[in-house]
Every structure is written in C-alpha cells, then in structure tokens.
C-alpha cells in the first residue's frame, strides 16, 4: 500500500516538474519569436525609411546651373538623359560629322594616360574638321574619396576651372596643362583653388582677374555636378568613358599593356598605356563612314590657336 503511494507521489512530482519545464520552454520559444520578430521589424523599418529618404533626395533632378560660353548639348548624351541641358564643352568644328563624347575627371589617372597619350591622335581629326569632341567633366575621384571618408573637391574645382578657361577661349591649352601636371591620385592639391590658378599661368593670357574670381568661387561647380548626374543617369562604369557617335570604345581599345603612350611617373604602376592605334582606327572608321569621299574644311580655330600658342612660347 505504501509502496504504490510513494510511486504515485513520485509520478505526480515528476509530472509537475515536466509540466513546469514544458511551460518554461514554451515561454522561451515565444520570447525568442517575439525578440526575433521585433528585430526583423526594426531592420525593415530602418531600411525602408532609409530607402525612402535616399530616393526622395536623389539628385536625378539637378537645380539650375551656370554653364560656360559655348557649352553645348551633346545629342548622344541627351538622347539618354533627356534634359536638354548644355553640359558639354565642345572642342572642334560644330560642323564636324563625327562626335567623340568624353566623360573624364581631371584627377583620374587613366584619363591622364588617355589625354596625354592619345590627345595628339584625336586632335589631328579635330583639326581636319572631321571630329568634334564633347567633353563632360565629372567629379568621380572626389566622390570615391568621399566614400572613403575624405573631404575631396579637386575634381570639382578643376572641372569648374576648365569651364572658366572655356569662357576665356583657352579651354584646350588649360586642359593640356592640367593633364600634364596631374597630381598623384591619393593627393588632392586642387582642393585649393590657388593651385589651379598657379597652373593657369602656364597659359598666356589666361590668368586674368575674371578667371581668378571664377576659379575661387567655383562658379561652374554646378556644371560639373550636372555632368556627374548625367554620368549616373547613363550608368557609366568609370572614367574615362569615350564614345564615338554614341558607341563606347572598349577598355581594350583605349588602353594596352604593350603601350607606354601617356604613361608618367604617377601612372607607371598601372601598367597600361594609351592604345593610340586602336583609337586612331576607330576614329578613322567613323570619319570614313561619315564623309566617304568628301573632305571637310579644316577647323580654322585650331590652326589659329596652335600657331598663337607656338609663337607666344617661342618669344
């Protein structure tokens, strides 16, 4: 009799302990589900609010910006951006039938290799009146530096200064000077406008009070900003992006490991030079297709500018 009673008590105790353990386990599972659920809601809310904030402040619609004299609408870009904004600085005869669209950044090393290495190549076509170059100066390196936590403005300042030079009618000369004196990519001396003004003294007639004030005020910063917006609208991968009549040249057409054209001490470690052969071939093909057997009038401005610079540096 006492034996079975004892067994009964043990079983009841065990049953109660088991029930309590099950109750605790259930509470724990509910608690885990709740905390997990709350955490998921927090993540979704933060991400959702963030995405909404970012898309509403997206710079796909830029405010009005000042554009330098003679800046044009690049039709091959505008057919994708549909802004009708004059965002390109045009170098060459407006009547040239082939357009070379160039998105570049004054601080970008590969743009330097392209300009220093292939500049002479494409300028021959420009002087012949066959090709006009539409420059879109962007601030990609600045943006890259900012995403690494650094405050950079050399690309924007340099781009604005180029527009100031365009106003003075000395874009090509100053463009050459900037790329001939490009700083190392990890430095940003052009965040100080006086550095850009010092370089401008290498171009006879450029350093005027109007030019200096233009550079110091970054008057055409908005112009560079809009080109940056367009760069993103076109979803370009990087700089330089070079298109001929809207068709992009590949990296292999622009650069070659077996070339040293345009390579300087700063860019030697990149192991690539400008592929002048391919650039020449691509431009020639486009020119032949556009002109056939006809020959356009050479670009008068280029010859005048070239001889003016030559005579002033000789004196």
């Amino acid at each position: 009799m006492s034996q079975s009673n004892r067994q009964g008590k043990v079983t009841a105790r065990e049953r109660m302990a088991a029930a309590q353990a099950a109750e605790r386990a259930k509470t724990r599972r509910t608690r885990q589900l709740l905390t997990t659920g709350i955490a998921l809601v927090v993540i979704a809310a933060v991400v959702g609010i963030g995405a909404a904030v970012k898309s509403s402040s997206s710079s796909s619609s830029a405010s009005a910006f000042a554009a330098p004299t003679g800046s044009v609408v690049d039709t091959y870009v505008d057919n994708r951006t549909h802004t009708s904004d004059p965002t390109a600085i045009e170098y060459g005869s407006p009547d040239a039938k082939v357009t070379m669209t160039v998105f570049e950044d004054v601080r970008c090393p590969f743009c330097d290799i392209f300009e220093v290495g292939a500049g002479d190549t494409y300028k021959k076509f420009v002087d012949a009146g066959e090709v006009k170059v539409d420059f879109h100066i962007v601030k990609l390196i600045d943006v890259n530096d900012q995403s690494a936590g650094e405050n950079a403005s050399g690309s924007r300042n340099g781009g604005s200064a180029l527009a100031c030079a365009q106003n003075a009618g000395l874009f090509d000369q100053y463009h050459d000077v900037l790329y001939a004196n490009q700083p190392a990519e990890t430095t940003d001396p052009w965040s100080d406008p006086s550095a850009l003004i010092t370089l401008a003294r290498k171009v006879p007639g450029l350093d005027t009070p109007a030019f200096e004030s233009c550079v110091k005020n970054t008057t055409y910063g908005g112009f560079v900003d809009q080109n940056w917006v367009d760069f993103n609208t076109l979803k370009l991968q990087g700089t330089p992006t070079v298109e001929i009549n809207g068709t992009a040249l590949t990296n292999a057409q622009l650069f070659s490991a077996s070339s040293t054209a345009g390579v300087t001490a700063n860019t030697a470690s990149d192991g690539q030079g400008a592929n002048t052969t391919a650039v020449q071939a691509a431009l020639q093909a486009a020119v032949t297709k556009a002109y056939g057997n006809t020959t356009p009038t050479p670009w008068a401005t280029a010859s005048a500018t070239a001889s003016a610079t030559a005579s002033s540096s000789a004196s």
């Binding site: 997990t36 997206s58 995403s147 936590g149 990296n251």
Partner: protein, 165 residues
C-alpha cells in the same frame, strides 16, 4: 569542475564584448555613409560589376541603413542571435565581392573603369580587406552560438530567461 563553472561565468561577458565590438564596427562603417548621395552609393556597388545596374544601385542605397540597423540592434541587445547571423551573411557577401574583384583583376581603388591592372597595390589592399572582414566574422559567429549577455534589451523587455541555453 571549477573549469566548467568558470567558463559558465565568463561566457556572458565574452558575448557582451562581442556585441560591443560587432555593433561598434557596423556603426563605424554605416554612419559616414548616411550622408552620401544615392549616386555615390550606387556607383560604389556598380564598380564591382557583379550585380546588374538596377540591383547594384538599390543595394548601394540600402546598405548603410542595413548596417545601421545591425549596429543598433547588436548594441542594444535585441534579437542578438538573428542580427549576428545576418551580420555574418552580409560580411560573407562583402568578402565574396572583394575576392571576386581580385580574381578578375579589377582595380577599383581609382574608380577609373575596371581595367585589369597588374598593380600590386590594389591586390594587397584586397587581402587586407578580406582579412579584416574575416576578423569581424569571429564576434558574429560567437554571438550566433552564444547570444546571451548582460545589459541586453531582450532580457529586460521580455522578462528573465531560463538560466540554461
């Protein structure tokens, strides 16, 4: 026997340190990015040339907020195990992306358009970046295994939890 009980006493504090480290890491990376434009954020991901453009832009825009949410949740101690697991997943995605860049020889530190550059400088930084992210996986993995720690909101909000795991 004292070894085991010593371990049981120490574990919650190790987890607390892991929470602090992982949370601080996420906030350190997320907060500066909150002020960047969506253009900059999208471009950063597009340069990896892994995702199609639309997805890359979307991921870039969302990324700082994801990291911010992880950091806040881990520091507060709310949904620690889940957040640690998601953190680990995101870190693996980052590690995979960097390794993929190295394998394809894409140098994006200059952002000058994925040209196969033989520059050792780019590759050396990739190695450091991967090692760093692998280091962050350690507290994340620990917290998936042992999420309980003192000063956690989940404990305070929903009552004491059982003493065993």
């Amino acid at each position: 026997m004292s070894g085991v009980s010593g371990w049981i006493r120490a574990q919650p504090w190790i987890s607390l340190v892991a929470r602090a480290g992982l949370g601080a890491m996420w906030l350190y990376y997320a907060v500066p990015k909150l002020s960047y434009s969506s253009d900059a954020l999208g471009l950063a991901v597009r340069q990896y040339q892994i995702l199609p453009t639309g997805l890359a832009n979307a991921f870039g825009t969302v990324q700082p907020y994801l990291e911010l949410a992880f950091g806040v949740l881990v520091i507060l101690g709310l949904g620690t195990r889940l957040t640690a697991a998601l953190s680990g997943l995101l870190l693996l995605v980052y590690i995979g992306g960097i390794i993929s860049l190295g394998a394809r020889g894409i140098a994006i530190n200059c952002g000058c358009g994925g040209i196969a550059s033989k520059a050792e400088a780019g590759h050396t930084r990739y190695t450091l970046d991967v090692l760093r992210d692998l280091g962050y996986l350690v507290p994340a993995a620990w917290l998936v295994w042992r999420p309980r720690s003192p000063l956690a909101l989940e404990t305070a909000l929903l009552g004491d939890e059982p003493s065993h795991d």
